[in-house]
């Protein structure tokens, strides 16, 4: 039974990686048709680094992802501490508010924000307010719930005595937050921030509705590419992004593994 399951799992993983293999192979293709391999070349990669437009778009995506995840992380962490001290109806109202963007499909979130911005545009008599700021607001909005949902469990797991101890030892509440609570909930903050960052970097649907012609991110541009024939250097770019993320993940995995084995050893030593 377990052997069948193992084979099945391998097949499913292969299924998940089929497109990655196709994109990686296409990035070394001499021809422009993704379906026909005409010979090996590095030209797509050279082309990519000559294309300042494509690199600028990647830069735009990174700028939005960094700023929005940073703002959402700070705002969301502070809010989590506040929500944690709430009880009863007020708490479930705020958590309900948090769950709206999580349960709403992306297209509805995108459409509702686009209509809000259009509405504000009409009120202010500006032709189009869509651009960098609307994109940033949208990204912060859909990132916030990820921070809250990652930080809240860490706050509930935290021993409340820790904070009391810090206060008894002469910390002000603010000091207690920075010296004790923040340290305890850090894993939740980090995983929330990482999630927000990747969501923002890869978001297409919401960005598509709230973006103007002035400031475009990479996924939105790729959508417009797919209406014209796609340039193979895009495959090269994504192969590079894929390899970068792969290396980052492997490094994180190794660090984590070292960390847990250290902890285990420490535990054994203390016995």
């Amino acid at each position: 039974m377990r052997r069948i399951n193992r084979i099945f799992t391998v097949i499913v993983f292969f299924f998940l990686y089929i497109p990655m293999i196709i994109l990686a192979v296409a990035s070394f293709n001499k021809g422009t048709d993704i379906a026909v391999f005409q010979g090996f070349t590095f030209n797509q990669y050279k082309e990519l680094f000559r294309d300042s437009n494509l690199l600028r778009l990647l830069g735009n995506s990174l700028i939005i992802a960094v700023i929005s995840s940073a703002v959402a992380t700070v705002l969301g962490t502070v809010a989590s501490v506040g929500i944690h001290s709430m009880r009863g109806r007020m708490r479930s109202a705020v958590m309900g508010l948090t769950n709206i963007p999580m349960t709403n499909p992306d297209i509805v979130t995108g459409v509702s924000l686009a209509l809000l911005f259009a509405f504000v545009g009409v009120l202010l008599r500006i032709n189009s307010v869509l651009g960098f700021w609307t994109l940033l607001i949208a990204h912060i909005t859909f990132s916030l719930p990820y921070i809250i949902l990652n930080v809240m469990p860490k706050l509930s797991q935290m021993d409340p005595d820790l904070k009391e101890a810090a206060l008894d030892l002469g910390c002000t509440p603010v000091q207690a937050f920075f010296k004790v609570i923040l340290h305890e909930i850090m894993p939740g903050i980090i995983s929330g921030a990482l999630m927000a960052f990747t969501m923002s970097l890869d978001d297409f649907v919401i960005s598509y509705f709230v973006t103007g012609s002035g400031f475009v991110t990479l996924p939105v541009e790729i959508y417009s590419y797919t209406k014209k024939p796609i340039q193979p250097k895009v495959y090269a770019m994504f192969t590079l992004i894929f390899v970068t993320i792969l290396l980052l993940m492997v490094a994180m995995n190794l660090l984590q593994a070292r960390d847990t084995s250290k902890k285990l050893r420490r535990k054994e030593a203390s016995r």
Binding site: I34, G82, S85, N104, P105, A114, L115, T141
Partner: protein, 271 residues
């Protein structure tokens, strides 16, 4: 100092950018696109789109069920690996999600097209090409491929947390392996199943890119209709009415699903 006020800025932000936009959607859905007066005609027009609504729901239900059938054994397998292997496999499931889903879908197009990789291969060995694309099957395949990780990860989180002693106890009390599964493991994994189903169904039912690329004009989904109201036909009022119906539909579905779990909001399975 009252700590709950710390969440003030967050609540303000969420009211401004999730609640009020939904109000604006209501406003647009109930007003005329030309005169701006109150009207119900947008909502009345929705009747024309019922077949598309039904098709979207039908295809997403099939895709969600396939994801569950594929995802459960895989999650089960991962949950019974060593912790280090678990981390590695979990990472490998998340890795493809970091690459633009537009490009991954395009890679599937390259694979399935009439002159794509599979059909080129088939003709080269003398077989007839197969109609692999521009049909419902291809759209379902695209949905399963894109949203399978959202099924596996919550299932894995739940299965991993099941106390092995419960399984031992069931075995000691005379359950065979099938009974252990149906009486212990399956009931305990219901929260993961519910959250996986929601996380696959919601994006699947509202998608517009997958059906544009893998489907035909005859298989358009409700997401395509909404998108075209904003980007092509420019009738945001009808688009708003359609989004409103889609949103209500999903809230009802999610509400029904959540009936099966009586968990508190924070024990919600996040990635």
């Amino acid at each position: 100092m009252k700590r709950k006020w710390l969440s003030g800025p967050y609540v303000l932000w969420m009211v401004l950018f999730t609640l009020i936009p939904l109000g604006v959607v209501f406003y647009y859905a109930l007003t005329d696109s030309m005169t701006g007066e109150f009207t119900l005609s947008n909502l009345a027009h929705i009747a024309d789109y019922w077949p598309i609504f039904l098709r979207s729901i039908w295809l997403s239900i099939i895709a969600t069920l396939i994801c569950l059938l594929i995802g459960y054994p895989v999650a089960y397998f991962i949950a019974h690996c060593k912790p280090s292997t678990q981390r590695l496999l979990q990472m490998m499931i998340m890795l493809p999600m970091c690459i633009s889903f537009l490009l991954r879908t395009l890679a599937w197009v390259a694979l399935l097209e009439d002159t794509g990789i599979i059909n080129n291969f088939l003709t080269s060995i003398g077989l007839n090409p197969l109609p692999l694309i521009r049909n419902n099957g291809a759209v379902i395949l695209g949905m399963v491929y894109n949203y399978l990780p959202y099924m596996i990860l919550p299932l894995f989180t739940v299965l991993m947390k099941i106390d092995p002693r419960l399984i031992e106890a069931a075995e000691d009390l005379g359950c065979n392996s099938r009974q252990v599964f149906s009486r212990v493991i399956l009931p305990l994994s219901v929260p993961g199943i519910v959250s996986g189903i929601t996380m696959v169904f919601v994006p699947a039912v509202s998608t517009f890119y997958i059906s544009q690329k893998l489907g035909s004009p005859g298989t358009i989904l409700i997401g395509d209709v909404i998108e075209s109201q904003f980007k092509a036909a420019y009738n945001p009022n009808l688009g708003a009415a359609l989004s409103l119906v889609l949103m209500v539909l999903i809230f009802v579905c999610v509400g029904v699903m959540n009936r099966f779990t009586n968990d508190e909001e924070e024990s919600m399975v996040t990635l």
